[in-house]
Symmetry: C2
Subunit: 165 residues, 2 copies
């Protein structure tokens, strides 16, 4: 493998392809089960960009967690949710929102498509969230081997997908 010298400080511009309309105005940790949201594509994307997506049960949505203040971004390790009973782990070993580039990635259920609007269930994003990409979920891109993860991560997720009421 050759060693590459890379421009470390290179920045890249991305542009929202849509915005989320959702019930929650601010970030919340848990109880996202069944919650519906709508993604409306911007005028710069053609409406047929969603054509055929309804034949997939799930879509992966990449979004910008825009309410995270840049000063709150963690570039090293911390306790997930600042909970001391879980081990301090690197920001790339947890899925918390205070991460470099503030990009969220969530697999949600495709509910319906109406022109430029995609209705999904269980997108854990707040109202006004800029969407960076939408990808169809294919089983071939899911893990092809058994998934192992530490106990703390199961504990953290225990109430995540429970319904709110």
């Amino acid at each position: 493998m050759k060693v590459q010298v890379q421009p470390v400080k290179a920045k890249v511009q991305v542009q929202p392809v849509g915005y989320v309309e959702a019930l929650r105005p601010h970030a919340e940790d848990d109880y996202w089960g069944g919650e519906e949201a709508c993604i409306t594509l911007t005028d710069e994307i053609e409406p047929d960009a969603l054509q055929g997506l309804i034949h997939f049960s799930h879509a992966e949505v990449l979004f910008l967690m825009h309410q995270v203040a840049p000063s709150k971004i963690v570039t090293g390790a911390r306790h997930p949710r600042n909970n001391d009973s879980w081990p301090a782990v690197g920001i790339f070993a947890q899925r918390g929102k205070n991460r470099p580039n503030r990009i969220g990635s969530t697999i949600c259920r495709v509910v319906r498509v109406e022109g430029r609007k995609l209705f999904v269930a269980e997108l854990d994003a707040i109202d006004g969230t800029p969407v960076l990409d939408i990808k169809p979920v294919m089983v071939e891109f899911l893990p092809r081997q058994e998934v192992r993860q530490p106990a703390w991560s199961h504990e953290l997720m225990r109430e995540y997908w429970l319904p709110k009421e």
Copy 2:
């Protein structure tokens, strides 16, 4: 749900958190099975950002498909891989690289971590690829219902994860 007026043209800057060293210098469609790659974090990320990731079997890597010329980006529908025997579908109903924002998202196997270096298997990114995020894979963030997808997508993926030789 309230209707939001959003700044459609708002752009967002992101900054690579690392770069990929890999065998392939240019994009290829298939035969990614078992291929190993190394992600080296930039100096702006602390080395303990990867701490604890080794306890996860899989990581989701978000990366910029930087060799895609902006003029080649599709904002509507097309035949996947420009193959007429598959239906024309929207760019958000396929995972091709010529997409708005050119962001790839792949679940790969965590092989080992050495300081600022993360070694992974089955990352379908080329040498020099800027990495935007690394997230641990938790079963709770995988589909929680049966995955449905159209036949063309299974055909397209048939040789994707086969080993190269």
